[in-house]
């Protein structure tokens, strides 16, 4: 193991060499009972071993043209039991919703029902090829169409594009639709290229606007944490293509003026894109169509509980208003007299001629569609409304129970998440990051930190509706205890945290300064050092 040669840059850390919880203190193996050290898979190579028994092909004459067969790749050989143990041990180094409260604001870490996993694996859904003849996949097309129907119904919007692969990809889809509609209306030389984005927006919003060829113009927030309507109006003009607004916003607040915002934007000839990452707060209680929205992505991996899987995959269908309904990506499902079919190209007889093109390979994230539909059907009309109600209730309960010891950034009520800032830590020597690391030792995954950018040292706490009151009370007890501890002058406790994790604080500065992004064999490491 090569752990030498790099100094940690975690200067503030009080590293106590004799800490009982540290590996250095104790065992021969470096293990700590259930906390097991696990080398890289590449360090467990026994050459020639494999975990998959495949027949050796009979002799045959290769047809590789001028291409040579490759030499040694360098992949390690392991048997099945070794592989199972490796990944089991790795899994035990992860926190997950299955293990505890995971209040990562904006990310919506709610329970992932296992029925949905089971259904996504039915061979009739998982073992079908995207290029099978349409006659052989009528059930799959029906499923996409059914989910599309419920997404349209829940949002009140007339159209939905199903193919985007995640939220950011949905943003790209919606902004492309807007640009296509503007070019259709004003001509391709339209100078409407400015997009208004609040300072509190998620990073994907400005990144998407730029990826679509727009320039980004930031709009400020008012004292209540919402878009400053007057400032917005002042920015509108005939070069503005759209506004990208998150609602409920990233401060966890409903944009009270949203209908006026929509009117002003439309009056100026621009479109209203809504980042729907927080749709979980209002599903079943508010339809985005009634707010004047033109396009909104829905992260199925947030509102509709498809698992985040350590960073994906997601799915980001985009609902569209009448004005944008034709400007959809290819492909899409249509329902005709003899069943369902796919419009896969602009040359298709059923195409409307205004489709803006393809966004990804094949037809969208089918595996996620199955799970999201199962979620919708399981909750039903009453359950979905209850989802939003309980999500908002839980967040307000956390807010109400912490606001005397932490500093809430804005006046409530909040929606599905509670935003605090670091004013309550002033003078304690403890930062939001330090506080988060101490939460880890208490058995919690921290909230989202330092986002949104409009408050200092943000704590964005989203408990979700799948936490019980007991669970919230235990969390509140911990948060209150930590807040009091910070203010009592015990900064040391926070600066050294976490102490009980598989690894303590990691040197991120060093990692970025001299990136090591892959394993290399010992020999080449030695060679490289010479």
């Amino acid at each position: 193991m090569n752990t030498q040669g790099r100094k940690t840059h975690i200067d503030t850390l009080g590293v106590e060499g004799g800490n009982a919880a540290s590996a250095a203190a104790g065992t021969i193996s470096g293990n700590r009972a259930l906390m097991l050290e696990e080398p890289l898979i590449f360090e467990q190579d026994s050459p020639g071993t494999t975990g998959v028994d495949l027949p050796e092909p009979p002799t045959f004459k290769p047809r590789l043209g001028k291409v040579r067969e490759r030499g040694t790749i360098g992949l390690p050989g392991l048997s099945e039991p070794e592989v199972i143990r490796h990944y089991t041990r790795l899994s035990q180094k992860n926190f997950a919703i299955d293990s505890g409260l995971y209040p990562l604001g904006s990310c919506t870490m709610k329970h992932n029902p296992r029925l949905n996993e089971k259904l996504a694996r039915l061979p009739g859904l998982s073992d079908i090829h995207p290029m099978q003849p349409e006659r052989t996949v009528q059930g799959a097309l029906e499923l996409i169409d059914t989910l599309a129907h419920w997404l349209k119904t829940l949002t009140g919007m007339p159209a939905v594009a199903m193919s985007p692969a995640a939220g950011a990809h949905g943003e790209l889809c919606g902004m492309a639709a807007i640009r296509a509609a503007i070019e259709d209306r004003d001509g391709s030389t339209s100078h409407r290229r400015r997009v208004l984005v609040p300072e509190s927006a998620h990073g994907t919003n400005p990144a998407t606007a730029a990826a679509c060829g727009f320039t980004v113009d930031a709009i400020p927030a008012d004292a209540t944490g919402r878009v400053d309507l007057e400032a917005l109006k002042a920015k509108l003009g005939d070069d503005v293509a759209a506004i990208m607004l998150t609602n409920p916003n990233t401060c966890g607040l409903f944009e009270r003026d949203i209908i006026e915002i929509a009117d002003a934007v439309h009056k100026a000839g621009a479109f209203f894109y809504c980042d729907g990452a927080n749709f979980n707060a209002i599903v079943g209680r508010v339809r985005p169509a009634d707010l004047g929205i033109d396009a909104m992505h829905i992260n199925l991996h947030k509102t509709f509980s498809t698992p985040h899987g350590g960073g994906g995959p997601g799915s980001g269908p985009v609902v569209l208003s009448e004005a944008l309904a034709k400007f959809v990506p290819l492909p899409y499902v249509v329902h005709g007299e003899d069943g369902f079919s796919l419009v896969e190209s602009g040359e298709d007889d059923q195409a409307n001629g205004k489709e803006f093109g393809r966004l990804k390979g094949f037809h969208g994230q089918m595996g996620m569609f199955v799970r999201a539909l199962a979620y919708i059907l399981s909750h039903g009309a009453d359950g979905l409304r209850q989802v939003a109600s309980d999500a908002v209730l839980n967040a307000n309960y956390v807010m109400a129970s912490l606001k005397d010891v932490m500093t809430a950034s804005f006046e409530g009520p909040c929606m599905h998440e509670a935003l605090f800032d670091d004013r309550f830590l002033k003078g304690t020597g403890v930062t939001t990051l330090d506080f988060a690391k101490a939460m880890i030792d208490e058995g919690y995954h921290p909230m989202t930190m330092y986002f949104p950018l409009v408050v200092h040292g943000a704590f964005l706490i989203e408990p979700t509706e799948t936490e019980s009151k007991q669970s919230l009370d235990a969390f509140i007890r911990v948060m209150r205890g930590l807040a009091e501890r910070a203010r009592s002058g015990d900064a040391e406790h926070f600066l050294g945290a976490p102490r009980m994790t598989p690894r303590r604080r990691l040197d991120e500065t060093g990692a970025a300064r001299k990136p090591v992004l892959r394993w290399v064999p010992e020999v080449s490491q030695a060679e490289a050092a010479e």
């Binding site: 975990g51 995207p130 995640a166 094949f362």
Partner: protein, 449 residues
């Protein structure tokens, strides 16, 4: 409702703590006109597992699953055998229900497998570094072109006619909105195109697929040198990643960026998604890369560990100046990929590739003898093109009626080109038996007679 733990008593007591009379009052910021009081139109009340399973299983039952019949479909999605342990491991809740590893102390599991994944991808492509995955092969291709534009500060991409049409189309969509030029060579079933003739001093990159969409495998070494001589980058797309177990990798042929569809390893067909985009490049271009990267570091006690790194490229830091807008990627599909690859190992991966090639050679030989069938591809890996004496889409529909998924008609992906209407893409993998091949040969004979 089984997923909602709050009781009515809980709700009442929580409302009292908050100091409001009802949940409705928490929604008071919603404009009155937009408050929905009616139930969701047409949606039944909540349902138990049994009812939901019944509804969705009924939809599943209307599809013909590829594994239940002789199946020869490819064109960018391949049916391979996925070992049982893969699906077992990715369903461990600690993997399945975790988020992007933003807090490294409690996500070393995810970070370590991503570091191993990056290493495996770099090794099989023959490149220096790989990222922690993008959405799929097609979006990775578009991202690669935009990266080449950044690296070369040019804005014109040349796409081979052997590039998967979806990869081409996604690149074209991005070109239209992001604002760069694309020269797409016409479909090239015979492998005769001259890409060099399309390059000029504005060209940022040339994108070729290997094996090509129509099946041919090519040595790209000379093309790489010629592209580099013009100051452009060579991007190699790999739609069937198993081929990298047999063929000289793109990295050894001089590729600057390699993008691939990783679905074949560890992931089911899933009707086209979710899949996993692989993205690898040279060390010197790392800071231009899209997507997340995991890097090695040490913790406060000097022990080796992993973190997300070089995030100053990414949207959450750079916002409108980011290298890509991607956030959520294909984490769990990357996990499936890396577990399957670990199970295969050097021996298994190479054998799997040889086996695929052997099956395809066997099938090509079997079909080439049939009346009205001509194998067009003179070289191939596990997929090749045949010319039929009738329109391929008609033949495929006829085969489907007889319970055979006989291949992908080229016209489905290249619609409107009459010259391609008779071409059929046929794939054989380790899952195809001799009996499957006999069934296809027999079916084709009937369909063509």
């Amino acid at each position: 409702m089984r997923y909602l733990p709050l009781t009515e008593a809980d709700r009442r007591s929580m409302l009292a703590t908050i100091g409001v009379p009802s949940v409705d009052s928490l929604f008071r910021d919603v404009p009155e006109a937009a408050r929905l009081s009616a139930p969701i139109e047409g949606l039944a009340p909540h349902a138990g597992e049994m009812e939901v399973e019944r509804t969705i299983a009924a939809m599943a039952a209307k599809n013909i699953s590829a594994g239940s019949v002789p199946s020869f479909l490819g064109a960018g999605a391949y049916r391979h055998h996925v070992p049982a342990s893969v699906d077992h491991l990715i369903q461990r809740g600690e993997f399945l229900t975790s988020y992007t590893p933003y807090q490294p102390e409690v996500t070393q599991g995810t970070l370590q497998y991503l570091f191993e994944f990056q290493t495996q991808v770099a090794l099989i492509t023959g490149m220096d570094v790989a990222n922690a995955s993008l959405y799929d092969g097609a979006t990775s291709c578009a991202e690669a072109v935009m990266m080449a534009n950044r690296v070369t500060r040019r804005g014109k991409a040349v796409l081979s006619g052997g590039l998967h049409p979806h990869y081409r189309d996604v690149t074209l969509t991005n070109a239209r909105f992001h604002g760069f030029e694309v020269v797409a060579a016409p479909a090239d079933p015979e492998g005769e195109e001259d890409l060099l003739a399309l390059i000029d001093d504005k060209t940022s990159c040339v994108v070729v697929q290997n094996p090509g969409f129509f099946g041919q495998v090519r040595d790209l070494t000379d093309l790489a040198a010629a592209v580099h001589a013009k100051g452009a980058l060579l991007i190699v797309a790999v739609a069937e990643v198993v081929s990298l177990g047999l063929l000289t990798p793109p990295g050894e042929m001089g590729a600057d960026i390699v993008v691939a569809e990783g679905q074949s390893i560890g992931n089911s067909l899933n009707f086209g998604g979710p899949y996993v985009g692989l993205f690898a490049t040279r060390d010197k271009y790392v800071r231009h890369m899209p997507g997340r990267l995991t890097g090695q570091t040490v913790d406060a006690e000097g022990r080796r560990g992993w973190v997300l790194t070089l995030s100053t490229r990414e949207q959450h830091i750079r916002r409108e100046k980011a290298t890509s807008n991607i956030c959520t990627n294909s984490g769990l599909c990357a996990l499936a990929f890396t577990i399957h690859m670990s199970l295969l190992g050097e021996e298994g991966f190479k054998r799997l590739a040889r086996l695929n090639h052997a099956k395809a050679v066997q099938l090509a030989d079997r079909l080439d003898g049939l009346k009205g069938v001509e194998v067009v591809s003179d070289s191939f890996f596990n997929e090749f093109t045949v010319r039929l004496k009738k329109p391929a889409s008609k033949v495929v529909n006829k085969l489907a009626k007889h319970g055979i998924l006989g291949g992908v008609p080229v016209s489905r992906l290249h619609p409107g080109d009459e010259a391609l209407a008779d071409l059929l893409l046929v794939t054989a993998t380790e899952t195809n038996t001799d009996a499957d091949m006999e069934a296809l040969a027999h079916g084709l004979k009937e369909a063509l007679s």
